[in-house]
């Protein structure tokens, strides 16, 4: 006999409000219906009421974890419409902040996943490291969550002492290489809790058009930093980790390996940081009428901003945001089918969902 178990929208197993209606047969999940929308704030509509300065601060608040991703993509789109090109130093600083944000997001996720695995020590360790990453971000931007780094034509703050930041990053890299990475890649606790759980096949990953670490854990080598390089990514060397298992363990491995790749990117960017301005000189720019669509690879995957403007207007005519969780979330249905009920929280967490981003 099958029965329905609702989970959420407010539940200790969920980090943010959303709802799963699970049809179960005994302890086995047969099918799932996903309900989102509990965080809808009408941000796309609000954006049309904000000018080109205010809208950056607004869109930074789409997400409380990958806030920089949103301003980065928005500014790229607005730069396309104004014809401004950020100077090389700004492009490198954007990469450094984006990769620090990826580190902080992946480590936060590692902590959440560890907690759901029943691995509380790892949860505490991950959050301790995350604090240190946030300290690096604070040292650069003055802020821990909404960094306010991006502006049209560049960045707001310089990295005045790259060597000092490099030392902080190297210390972090060492700590992660000795704790998070070996535990997540070799520990039997992580392996036994995650292997074979919540499988998303490559075929289904293609069909659902999933993005980011979830796609890469299902054998799809897609990464916007590599396929459509932006900012300074084209000048930096890094690998795109890909796993073929498609399960929670593969997602864990991809993110663990990406942490090391992000450290590699940050180290290169800080070493190569070119001299010069951090934003285009002068304050005058003009928006042309049209639509610009720009993407970047956020911690959870590809983010797309479609920005429309009418010449002469201070406000955007329309901003549409396609966030990675919006693309990934429907695939949770396929990951859950056949899974144990007790694994449901871990499976939904394995996509590193952000419902604030999804609902906007």
């Amino acid at each position: 006999m099958s029965y329905k178990i609702p989970m959420g929208p407010f539940h200790p197993g969920l980090e943010e409000p959303y709802k799963l209606d699970m049809i179960c047969n005994g302890e086995t999940v047969q099918d799932v219906k996903l309900h989102v929308g509990f965080n809808f704030r009408g941000i796309e509509h609000l954006a049309e009421t904000r000018n080109y300065i205010q809208v950056i601060a607004l869109m930074e608040r789409v997400c409380g974890i990958c806030s920089n991703v949103h301003t980065f993509t928005l500014c790229r789109a607005m730069e396309e419409l104004t014809g401004l090109t950020p100077p090389p130093r700004a492009q490198y600083i954007r990469v450094i902040v984006a990769e620090l944000e990826r580190l902080h997001s992946h480590i936060l996720w590692a902590g959440v996943a560890a907690k759901l695995m029943g691995f509380k020590t790892m949860f505490m360790t991950s959050f301790e490291i995350r604090e240190k990453i946030m300290e690096v971000l604070q040292a650069i931007s003055g802020n821990r969550v909404n960094y306010a780094m991006n502006r049209i034509g560049g960045v707001n703050r310089d990295i005045e002492d790259p060597q000092a930041v490099l030392k902080m990053v190297e210390a972090l890299e060492l700590e992660m290489a000795h704790t998070v990475i070996p535990i997540f890649t070799t520990s039997s606790t992580a392996a036994s809790r995650c292997a074979g759980v919540g499988v998303l096949t490559k075929e289904k990953a293609i069909s659902c058009a999933v993005v980011g670490p979830v796609a890469r854990a299902s054998g799809l080598p897609q990464d916007t930093r590599r396929s459509a390089p932006y900012a300074a990514y084209g000048e930096l060397e890094f690998d795109v980790p890909v796993q073929t298992g498609g399960d929670v363990r593969a997602r864990l491995l991809v993110r663990a390996l990406e942490i090391m790749e992000s450290c590699k990117i940050i180290r290169q960017a800080l070493t190569k940081l070119p001299p010069g301005e951090i934003h285009t000189p002068g304050e005058r720019f003009v928006f042309t009428t049209g639509t610009a669509a720009k993407r970047i690879e956020g911690p959870r995957g590809e983010v797309l901003y479609s920005v429309s403007w009418k010449a002469g207007s201070k406000n955007p005519a329309r901003i549409h945001v396609r966030t990675p969780t919006f693309a990934i979330m429907p695939s949770v249905r396929w990951m859950m089918q056949g899974a144990r009920l007790a694994d449901a929280p871990l499976i939904q967490a394995s996509i590193d969902p952000c419902y604030s981003c999804t609902d906007r």
Partner: protein
């Protein structure tokens, strides 16, 4: 001839569209002409382009709506625009699973009818009409 050009021309050829692709605003745009969104989606599936999203626009008074469909093809951002006079268009959900949630979102936000699919009832505004989130509401 670059790989990108070859790939884009191959799409045009399969669709029988002679108008060239136009690169603007960070994407390559194709004017669909008389081709339907379903015909274009089928060709995008054939060339293994990855569906990204649909962006809906409400055009100035009386001009209806515009839907911009986006795909990724080996890192190239592709766009196809459809202008809707009656605010309805064929659904591509059955041939492009990834379009499910965005079709539903556009339906709820703009009241656009994607013909050939059903929608679940609104979760938070049950019984309310769709199309009031982003559409300009005249008082």
């Amino acid at each position: 001839m670059t790989d990108t050009t070859t790939q884009l021309e191959s799409i045009s050829e399969k669709l029988g569209i002679t108008e060239p692709w136009v690169e603007t605003g960070g994407a390559h745009w194709l004017a669909p002409g008389t081709k339907s969104v379903r015909e274009i989606t089928k060709v995008m599936n054939e060339v293994h382009a990855r569906f990204i999203t649909i962006t809906a626009f409400q055009l100035p008074a009386g001009e209806g709506f515009r839907l911009d469909y986006h795909w990724d093809l080996d890192g190239q951002l592709l766009g196809v625009s459809f202008q809707l006079a009656a605010n309805s268009l064929e659904s591509i959900f059955d041939i492009c699973e990834a379009a499910d949630w965005i079709e539903r979102e556009v339906h709820e936000g703009f009241g656009t009818e994607f013909v050939g699919r059903e929608y679940e009832p609104l979760e938070l505004r049950q019984g309310d009409t769709s199309g009031v989130n982003l559409r300009e509401v005249k008082q």
